[in-house]
């Protein structure tokens, strides 16, 4: 792993679950909370990092990976869940195992009101489309919860999202000095 990457321990624990679970593709639209996993995926020759122009592409990418026999996950921010809604039909119709990790905006110490309409409805949107939702706000619990969701997706064949609470990511610094 690239030793120049510095990130909170909970971000490392997310990537550890994915790597140890033999994930071969990580599709993403970037978010600060996913920085470590994205950089680690790029640095790992055994994992394909797939940067997307919109999150809904990722639903197709991870489904295609599974069709070919690989585990893949989708990393996105809460706003991206809204972009995916119709594309989630693919998961439901074909019963694809599915794991997405969603960093939350529009909740704890949010500065930007434009994040709130989607952030406040992210869990409901996922559940409306048949996806089981886990949530974690305690950094010490991230590894455990992601691991539980991982097993439910790839061992039980379910569709699962983990919401990574905004408090994990902390207050965004808006003033550049």
């Amino acid at each position: 792993m690239n030793s120049t990457v510095s990130a909170p321990g909970w971000q490392k624990s997310v990537f550890d679950v994915l790597r140890e679970g033999d994930v071969k593709q990580i599709a993403y639209v970037p978010d600060a909370g996913h920085s470590y996993a994205i950089q680690a995926a790029i640095a790992d020759p055994g994992i394909e990092d797939v940067v997307l122009t919109t999150e809904e592409e990722g639903v197709g990418v991870v489904s295609g990976a599974w069709l070919g026999g690989q585990r893949a996950v989708l990393l996105m921010q809460s706003s991206g869940v809204g972009n995916c809604v119709n594309m989630f039909s693919l998961l439901e119709m074909c019963k694809f195992p599915f794991l997405t990790l969603v960093t939350m905006r529009g909740e704890y110490a949010e500065f930007n009101p434009w994040q709130i309409p989607m952030g406040s409805t992210t869990q409901q949107a996922l559940e409306l489309m048949g996806i089981t939702v886990f949530r974690v706000d305690d950094p010490d619990q991230v590894g455990e919860v992601v691991s539980a969701a991982f097993d439910q997706a790839f061992l039980a064949g379910e569709r699962v999202a983990v919401l990574l609470g905004q408090r994990l990511i902390g207050r965004k610094k808006w003033e550049r000095k």
């Binding site: 071969k24 593709q25 599709a27 394909e48 797939v50 940067v51 997307l52 122009t53 919109t54 809904e56 592409e57 990722g58 639903v59 197709g60 990418v61 991870v62 489904s63 295609g64 990976a65 599974w66 069709l67 070919g68 026999g69 690989q70 893949a72 119709n86 594309m87 039909s89 693919l90 119709m93 074909c94 019963k95 694809f96 195992p97 790839f154 064949g157």
Partner: protein
């Protein structure tokens, strides 16, 4: 009346020139690339592929518009040892147009994207699409960074496209100019789970 207007207008821009029979093109392509893994976009391309003969290596979309190319990308990355071909229409491709950018970044050598382009949304009443209103899909693919793009207007090129598919020498985007016809519907299975399981079984994979 409306169809005549559309036929007249279809000489605009990149649509000028000869056009192919969609079923002939798809059937010839699949006949010459029998081992290819195929992902189809919803609507007529799914019917075209099914009409050419059911294959365990076909994955048909009936919805999730815009998913064909992303699904093909994930599949191609997972199976570099197999030829993967996405067969979709201009409308479906347009809805997921950004995926061409994501494909260009990864550039899997074994992925061929075939857009059967009649310049219209055929499934909903043959309304004109951007492709007959000025957009140049092959040009867009090229501008996104896909190194090889082809424009096909001759049925003889179906065999050449099949060779591109089987060669696995570089991501290729193929725009096939087809006639604005609506051949008899040939409906593939709508049970997505069954199609998925059959497809994976053909690759020696369990259900999950």
């Amino acid at each position: 009346m409306g169809a005549q207007v559309n036929a007249h207008d279809s000489t605009i821009g990149t649509l000028a020139g000869e056009r192919l029979d969609r079923r002939d093109f798809v059937a010839t392509l699949l006949d010459r690339a029998p081992e290819a893994l195929v992902v189809t976009g919803l609507g007529s391309p799914s019917y075209d592929v099914f009409a050419a003969g059911e294959r365990d290596r076909n994955f048909y979309l009936w919805g999730a518009m815009g998913a064909a190319v992303p699904t093909g990308l994930g599949l191609a990355l997972a199976r570099p040892d197999e030829s993967v071909v996405v067969i979709t229409g201009d409308g479906e491709q347009l809805m997921g147009i950004g995926a061409l950018g994501s494909v260009a970044v990864k550039a899997p050598k074994n992925l061929t994207i075939v857009v059967v382009d009649n310049g219209h949304f055929g499934e909903t009443g043959m309304q004109r699409s951007h492709s007959s209103l000025g957009a140049d899909l092959a040009g867009i693919a090229s501008s996104f960074g896909i190194a090889r793009t082809e424009r096909v207007r001759d049925i003889a090129d179906a065999e050449r496209v099949a060779r591109i598919v089987t060669a696995r020498e570089g991501t290729t985007f193929v725009q096939v100019f087809i006639e604005q016809t609506e051949p008899p519907r040939a409906l593939p299975p709508r049970d997505g789970t069954a199609v998925k399981n059959k497809f994976r079984a053909a690759l020696g994979l369990d259900t999950f």
